[in-house]
Symmetry: C2
Subunit: 328 residues, 2 copies
């Protein structure tokens, strides 16, 4: 194998090519939100995320209880994006010498609360000393029907759940020293970043909806995650910037709310493709969930965005994440 | 929950108590080498280990290829200790900005080689930027019969595989600046630390042997891991220091070879209990594997060691690992 640059997506590409094996039990391997096995006639969805102090969070602004919640939630989001239900978690945790027992207690208390809400049991893990707080959650789930990243086809309609860009604004506020309690608008934005809520109930319902052909969770921003969805599906796409769902809070705190919605990461909302004939059935779901049609899948490989003046342009994303990029 | 001190074992105890759930699919939860689920009629063994730069390894003495191997091997060892076979791995990896692509290539090449030898497929994971190299492997396996930690009974005989203390001596040599190539004796010790070989074949065979009642892998040293085995089994034990298997290399490089064998960590050998009636069947296995009877399980909770002068004393272990202990 040869790695020209340490870009996340190129590393994943190399891993995928290099570790490919013929395996009748392996339904989905490297490159989706989660891996999927057939195990004893049941589906088994597996995902894991690293959360590292200094890269993904800072203790001075992330209350340990919310960090405990988020450590589980970001993994639950990956399972939801497959149309699945989370079931069991393993926790690997590395702590620096100076960590207060009370910090760990609050962290575990938050993790436990989120696990209870999501119906997840913690069944094992690993503890160790570390230079910075190091959190590695592995989550297992299952689904009646798996919704992969690669099922999108030209003509499919593109939808997103919730609103986009809130977490990015929340992070910006934290960097400026704005903490919880400064107002309900800022609290909404802070919470979007500090305590994102995975779309488990929606993911399960979309999994049960046959015309939903492909799905991904929005962890790195719509612009990048849409490109990934398109690449996996072998299609292009066109989305309409003006249709992106933006909260009143993002409008209030940003002069470029649609840019925030397009490029902001960590929203943990769902982006999915729907065969056009599924529209009537989706309208049922729209009564319960906030869903917005933002564009459609196209032949080819171009991913385009119609700007607010109606001009269609190639979608610029911030580039595949480089290992050297400071995420925060 | 209340954590008086950040000791690994007390944290695990709190997690176990606090996260206990009634779950018919959960066969073994927190507190064993690995968790075990029943999933679709098959067993599903799950384990994960964090390997952190500065805590578990140093790049200046750990060649990336061997580190890739070890990242998988330490997890394989946990599955072997349940009597299982490893099947699928997920890799979470965090890399600092300065990491050379060639380092990652070698690391992955080692990981791939070890995975091939063990019949493991890499099916997913996570990549991110990090302050220090952060490796988190999750491994799935299965077994026909699970050998837990808690199956030991008074009267069971205690056995270990291989030789003990080699890895500890290897680490000591590395700290003194001795590298590979200085001689076949030192190379043996270095390799024990840098590239431990998990006892997969032996673990599988012991799993098939009904009189094998309990098993644990020796990652933190015999003195500590034996106490864990006894505590889980609700027994005491007595081992004979002079019977511990010690390599010629450890004898040559240490003035206290039996101390190294008793307290040295990272051997990744197997410690197991055998019902006495199983002895004839074990002697078959002894033709293929290096196995040594070192003592027996006793009623009560005392764990004792007979020293080289024939005196029985309470076994002193180095204490449950504190998060603030420098492991290396």
């Amino acid at each position: 194998m040869k790695l020209p640059k340490l870009e996340e997506d190129s590393v994943i590409e190399v891993l995928r090519r290099d570790f490919r094996r013929i395996d009748p039990d392996l339904f989905i391997g490297i490159g989706d939100d989660a891996a999927v096995l057939r195990w004893g006639g049941r589906s088994l969805i597996l995902t894991k995320d690293l959360l590292l102090e200094g890269t993904h969070f800072r203790t001075r602004w992330h209350p340990p209880e919310l960090l405990g919640r988020k450590s589980l939630s970001v993994n639950v989001s990956d399972i939801a994006a497959m149309g699945g239900d989370p079931r069991y978690a393993l926790l690997g945790i590395g702590l620096p010498e100076k960590t207060e027992p009370s910090w760990l207690e609050s962290f575990l208390s938050g993790l436990k609360a989120a696990a209870g809400e999501e119906g997840v049991s913690l069944i094992g893990g690993d503890t160790t000393r570390a230079a910075v707080i190091t959190i590695s959650v592995t989550l297992l789930g299952e689904a009646q029907r798996i919704v992969p990243r690669n099922g999108g086809r030209p003509g499919d309609l593109l939808y997103v759940s919730g609103t986009l860009g809130d977490a990015r604004l929340g992070l910006r506020l934290l960097k400026r020293g704005v903490g919880p309690g400064a107002g309900s608008e800022t609290d909404h934005l802070l919470r979007a970043f500090l305590d994102p809520r995975p779309q488990t109930a929606l993911g399960r319902r979309l999994g049960a909806l046959e015309p939903v052909s492909a799905m991904i969770d929005l962890s790195d921003g719509l612009s990048l995650d849409l490109v990934r969805l398109c690449r996996e599906s072998g299609c292009g796409a066109e989305i309409d910037l003006g249709k992106l769902p933006v909260s009143a809070q993002v409008r209030e705190f940003s002069r470029t709310p649609y840019r925030e919605a397009l490029h902001g990461g960590e929203d943990y909302q769902l982006l999915f493709c729907l065969r056009p004939e599924g529209k009537p059935r989706l309208s049922e779901l729209k009564k319960e969930f906030h869903l917005t049609e933002i564009g459609r899948m196209l032949p080819g490989s171009d991913v385009r965005v119609i700007d607010r003046r109606g001009r269609s342009k190639k979608l610029e994303h911030r580039g595949f994440k480089h290992f050297s990029d400071a995420k925060k």
